[in-house]
Amino acid sequence: MRSRWCRQLAAVAALVVGASLAGCGSDEPSPQATAGGKVELTFWTWVPKIEKVVDKWNAANPNIHVTVSTQAQGDDLITKVLTAHKGGSGVPDLIQAEYQALPTLVSNDVLADIKGDVEASKGKFAEGLWQQVTLGTDAVYAVPQDAGPMMLYYRTDLFQQLGLTVPKTWDEFAATARTVRQKDPKRYLTTFSATDPGWFAGLAQQAGASWWSIEGDTWKVSVNDSATKKVAEYWGGLVAAGSVDDQPMYTPEWNKALNDGALIAWPSAVWAPGVLQGNAASTKGKWAMAPLPQWSSGENKTGNWGGSSTAVTEKSKNKKAAAQFALWLNTDAAATTQLIQDGGLYPAAREAQAGPALAQPPAFFAEQNDFYPQAKSIADTAAGFTWGPNVNVAYTAYKDLFGKAITQKSSFTAALDQMQQTTVDDMRKNGFKVG
């Protein structure tokens, strides 16, 4: 016990010291223009094997040298960047940031407005994605890198065995879920996960939700708008009736359920083949992809689950060069091809989505030849979304409140109302103007 106590104390001490020291002592070369006009840039990212892409840039641009520093993923990287920014030194010129983290970074003055350098390329990206890097303002804070348009994945063999057809609307989806329970009580159509707020946010986007918006100098927060309420009520009904499972995703239990067919469909994003390959390897070739079910028949909409962008920091001494690199990385044909092949990304740039790197379907879906063409047409229908400055708070509230609603068998819409309350309270507490 003693050593554990010491360890925890040490950890807390380290956190506190870390907060004050992280800015100092760093082996990053400090960003500055050296004599002769050569520019040195540092780039914090977690895309696998991105060095290869950056090497290409360095070979072609002897005057702008980019050094990659592979970093922690997602929110951990954001925490690190915020700390470095507060410390005042060791801030990289370029960072990878998930779309929902951008407002937090902007609100902390970490990001530079690179509108002047990248605005001309607006048309290369789907409108919904571009909205996520402008935050609905006049500025542009990042260049979209990858996207996660949502679609429905299902087990073709089990759908056939149970005599099911692919649901085109959410009503059909609910009916299919009930049929699965009747025909084989050991299986569920899918599960509602209270641990994946990004998934729920994607489903809400499809329904037309708008959780944050800006009016003048005031934030409007409507996490519990009618579109999201519709989504929450729908899934709450399915969970309460036992028509879908309520276990979290990304657990050993969930992996097993995917492997042994206890779960036979998964509303997920374009990157799902990689996840299925890693977590349900034994089901190779048994899956197919279809558009997400729609709220009314004839509609054609989806949302995004995940995705990130490349942003330039305010403390960078070479913002122009950095913006130039960010744009090249995410729009150049050679660069995006490499990001797709080695990084496993689904590119945000429209041209890259139709590029040669995506001509073949993913190995795990070898049967579905039109996988990427179909993905592209789905990606074009992704709804836009404005993220707020405290997405983390809303996301944590989702996990806590929907988890509680499931264990206590209480109302999902009540949980959603509380999620709204928690989000607004947090913004007010920090002094944001909320209308």
């Binding site: 554990r4 106590w5 937090t104 902390n108 050993p252 239990e253 206890a262 264990t407």
Partner: protein, 312 residues
């Protein structure tokens, strides 16, 4: 006595007096740098807060200002924090007695004359302590999840209903179990060491007086290891109040653990999810103060028993 020696003497004394400090210096420097300074900085942070204006998106719309005791007021008024403290007390009420009871039992068994495989048993009971808490929690998580757990598999094949160990009712036991598994060994070694230090003559005379092994254990051994028991209790109480790794690791596997299940989780949540290190700092200080009061309070209450051995 001539003048020369008289003059030299006090100088040598000063040097003598400085020697211990020279030896202590590294420890003092480290202690200041890595414990006192961070605590001081935490105290400073706890008195500040961030003020955002308007949208918070423009330049300089976020300022750090002095907050006085506002963070403390909020922390103390935070019902979720106190509910977390209650949950942790419940967890401790299961963990501490079971863990220390088992530790005492195993220590007595190891110390008894008739036990075989002493070294082997000692090491195998101690071994879980060497497993990092996060890994232990992952291992147990696998054992709890219904469709991957061998235990649940046995229940099913025996026709018994599965136990939802990660459900809202049993989760606290599931967590305490991980603590017991990891903690019994260490506490057993502490108590066992205390048992080995008892003079053997005491047992001999007890046997001559007709004591059974059981009576020796209850009437001689246990009273004599009370100081060791008190020490292990204090450490267990402190570790309980700071439970963090187990619930954090199990959280993604279940709907029954909230992000603020224990006070330390709340601090982590504030600092790294809400990006509000100021409230987190204030809560840290409150938790540290409560821990200090509880452990010192406990030590004072049992002082005479705990330090009886030292004062004799």
């Amino acid at each position: 006595m001539d003048g020369a020696t008289a003059a030299r003497k006090p100088r040598r004394r000063t040097a003598h007096r400085l020697v211990p400090y020279a030896f202590l210096a590294p420890a003092i420097v480290m202690f200041t740098l890595f414990l006192l300074a961070p605590i001081g900085y935490t105290g400073y942070l706890s008195l500040r807060k961030v003020k955002v204006e308007g949208l918070g998106l423009g330049r300089g719309s976020r300022r750090e200002i002095f907050a006085g005791l506002e963070n403390y007021r909020q922390t103390l008024a935070d019902t979720e924090l106190w509910r977390g403290a209650l949950r942790v007390l419940g967890y401790g009420a299961i963990l501490t007695p079971v863990m220390l009871g088992l530790a005492l039992l195993f220590a007595l068994l190891l110390d008894s004359r008739r036990t075989g495989f002493r070294r082997f048993s000692r090491i195998s009971i101690f071994l879980p302590f060497a497993v990092p808490v996060v890994i232990a929690s992952l291992l147990w998580g696998f054992l709890y999840l219904p469709s991957v757990s061998p235990g649940q598999h046995l229940l099913r094949s025996a026709g018994l209903p599965e136990m939802d160990l990660l459900g809202p009712d049993l989760i606290v036991f599931a967590l305490a179990n991980i603590g017991v598994w990891g903690g019994v060994g260490f506490n057993m070694i502490v108590i066992y060491t205390a048992l080995r230090a008892i003079p053997r003559e005491l047992y001999e005379s007890a046997r001559i007086d007709g004591c059974s092994e059981f009576q020796i254990a209850v009437r001689i051994k246990i009273p004599l290891v009370v100081p060791a028991m008190i020490m292990t209790t204090v450490f267990s109480v402190i570790a309980t109040l700071q439970v963090f790794s187990e619930p954090v690791t199990l959280r993604p596997m279940t709907n029954s653990l909230s992000s603020t299940w224990s006070p330390l989780m709340k601090i982590y949540q504030d600092a790294f999810a809400r990006n509000d290190i100021f409230t987190a700092a204030a809560t840290s200080i409150v938790v540290a103060a409560v821990t200090l009061v509880l452990s010192f309070g406990f030590l004072r209450a049992v002082q005479r028993r705990a330090f009886a051995g030292e004062s004799q």
